[in-house]
């Protein structure tokens, strides 16, 4: 389920002012100021959130950049997986659109 439509040209980012993290072992608890919800992120999803906090991405750029950020090969981290991960962050309002017509 998506939180809304998406386009290849839209740029996305995570805004660290909108959440607060706390690491407990292998998981990171993230408090979302906008929704008031607490999320539990594993090592993969927190890595994506952290990457998106660095700069803005289109979906394609994100799929291209994430494997290297994770230190794995592109085969191990295909675009479909990245997009679904993105959808999970989008669904709970942890990422926001930042430009791109």
């Amino acid at each position: 389920m998506a939180a809304g439509p998406n386009r290849k040209t839209w740029r996305w980012r995570a805004n660290p002012r909108h959440y607060r993290c706390h690491v407990l072992g292998d998981v990171t608890f993230v408090y979302n100021h906008l929704s008031g919800d607490t999320h539990m992120l594993n090592l993969v999803s927190i890595a994506l959130l952290n990457l998106m906090a660095e700069r803005t991405f289109t979906l394609d750029e994100l799929a291209a950049a994430f494997p290297a950020h994770m230190d794995v090969s592109a085969d191990e981290c295909p675009p479909g997986v990245v997009w679904r991960l993105f959808d999970e962050l989008d669904e709970v309002g942890l990422v926001e659109r930042s430009g791109g017509a």
């Binding site: 919800d37 607490t38 999320h39 539990m40 794995v72 997986v81 709970v92």
Partner: protein, 289 residues
């Protein structure tokens, strides 16, 4: 954020494992919420015991009759049997009480249904109050009054009987009449009469079981469907609630849960419908979530 060293091989291996799970569709993010599905709260973990021999007859309009005294043999329903069931029923719920999936589908293998459809049930019993073409039904005024009475009663409870001081709150002179006549005492009486005045008292039918004759030219009825519980059955309605607090009701126990909840909604606990207390504690809990 103190992220662990990303070159750490154990750490990397964990990420790889998780990525594989992610590729298999496992969510990588969980949103924490208090889960109503866990029988965590004392209000949720009560159980209902359905008495043995209880049957629920559902009309095509969603009305329901509930009886523990009708011996249903599972054979095809006829208008005579329907009539007998109605007179044997201890509890009645009005049209619209039971969701569509529990209602008879109206597909009669042997026709007569399609022609007699709407008229077979609602012209004699007065049980079908919610018929769509209410103008003809003659009950329109009654609905009106009934609804308003319910509204006013409920409202009265809020304003009059919560915390005894209510009478004194009109302590200013701007309202004309002084102290509201709302003592706790007659409150109870009001409620009692309320409960017995409306919706008809089916107890009068007590001994009428034999009354309805199932005549020989009795036509079959597919405007009704009967569900029975042969032996006494215990279950926890709280288990029907999912993690989001939604009801996921299915099967005969789902129907029973709906009927018990409806009963509580209409009548409170006055008549001790089996399980109504349990339903009400659950509903109270959920409504406060």
């Amino acid at each position: 954020m103190n992220e662990p060293n990303e070159k750490d091989s154990v750490f990397l291996e964990k990420r790889r494992q998780l990525l594989k799970l992610g590729a298999a569709g496992v969510p990588m993010l969980l949103t924490m919420k208090a889960s109503a599905a866990q029988p965590l709260h004392s209000a949720l973990d009560c159980a209902i015991t359905i008495p043995s021999g209880m049957c629920i007859m559902v009309g095509s309009d969603g009305a329901a009759w509930i009886s523990t005294r009708y011996n249903y043999d599972g054979s095809k329903l006829t208008n005579g049997k329907v009539k007998q069931f109605k007179s044997a029923s201890e509890y009645v719920l009005p049209a619209g009480s039971v969701p569509a999936r529990y209602r008879p589908d109206g597909n009669c293998p042997t026709d007569p249904c399609s022609s007699s459809g709407g008229s077979s049930g609602d012209d004699d019993e007065g049980g079908h109050w919610g018929h769509h073409s209410q103008q003809e039904s003659g009950f329109a005024a009654l609905f009106d009054r009934l609804t308003l009475t319910r509204t006013a009663q409920a409202d009265d409870t809020l304003y009059a009987s919560d915390w005894g001081h209510s009478g004194g709150e009109g302590d200013d002179s701007d309202d004309g009449s002084s102290g509201c006549p709302t003592s706790g005492g007659d409150d109870d009486d009001n409620h009692d009469s309320y409960s017995s005045n409306h919706w008809g008292s089916s107890d009068d039918n007590h001994d009428d079981d034999e009354g309805g004759s199932s005549g020989s030219n009795d036509t079959s009825s597919c405007d009704y469907k009967i569900y029975c519980f042969d032996s006494s059955t215990q279950f926890q309605p709280g288990t029907f609630i999912d993690a989001n607090g939604n009801w996921n009701l299915s099967g005969d126990l789902g129907l029973y849960t709906i009927v018990a909840a409806k009963y509580g909604e209409y009548y409170g606990t006055y008549n001790n419908f089996p399980g109504v207390s349990c339903m009400l504690s659950i509903m109270t809990y959920l409504n406060n979530q």
